[in-house]
Amino acid sequence: MDIKVLKVGIVSCSGEALPEGTVSRVACRKVLDELRPGQTVTICLPLFIAGGKEEREFANKFPTVTVDGCEKMCAAKSTERLSGKPARSLMIRDILKKHDIAGLKQCRGLGPAEKIASDAVAEEVAKAVDEVLE
């Protein structure tokens, strides 16, 4: 029997020290609030450490798309170790390369480059959500 997936979990790295961390956060919120509301849910990443059994069940309850700013892949690795294997793992620097976007500078808020990057990343995350829901 096929079990229909109704919601996809989105886990953002939200890294503080790199502009890509902020882009990850803003892009994921855009997917949750504007692009795929009703089909997506999220969890604060560090809750996998601080939360209880319910929080650690997240990636077993929902097929999960992780979104990481850089090659360290903190969200993907932490989700896999503490909750469950992600259905898809995206890395922002790959997405930016694909879209020929460069020049990210600020961590706090979005400048023009960060805004363009966030919109492109949000579209890619939404696409990954659709693939998981198919």
């Binding site: 020290a17 961390g21 560090p46």
Partner: protein, 138 residues
């Protein structure tokens, strides 16, 4: 004492599920970029979750302030989970209780009340930064 000047590491939780996570993140940036540049720094909190050696060294070698959004205390627990002693832990929710007239809203971007709350809270945390740095000198 080692010759290397230490900085205060400010670790917000940055929770994406709650406005309070954004308040914590913005307080950290207010401190690092505006109120106490040069003597404060941060790292990506999730690097502690994957036990990244450089991030671990930073929080082991320097005093750490955590700023959590809510009572779950994720930043503090993430630091403590790798054996770090947190010098002082703050919670954004406590700043909201003190400044009841400033109700923060928004996650990607805070409303005006949230931005004002961030500035007031950051000033309080800056005093703790000064205290920790003074302790270093004595």
């Amino acid at each position: 004492m080692s010759g290397k000047k230490r900085k205060v590491v400010v670790l917000p939780c940055s929770g994406i599920g709650k406005t309070l996570g954004t308040v914590g993140r913005e307080i950290a940036y207010e401190l690092i970029e505006d109120l106490r540049p040069g003597v404060t720094t941060t790292t990506c909190l999730p690097l502690l979750m994957i036990e990244d050696p450089d991030a671990k060294k930073l929080v082991t070698d320097n005093p750490v302030i955590t700023i959590d959004g809510c009572p779950f205390g994720c930043a503090r627990k993430s630091a403590e989970s790798i054996g770090v002693t947190v010098s002082k832990g703050y919670r954004a929710i406590d700043f909201c209780r003190v400044h009841k007239d400033l109700k923060p809203e928004g996650i990607s971007e805070l409303n005006e009340a949230g931005k004002k709350l961030v500035v007031l809270a950051a000033k309080e945390v800056a005093e703790e930064v000064d205290r920790l740095l003074a302790e270093e000198k004595s």
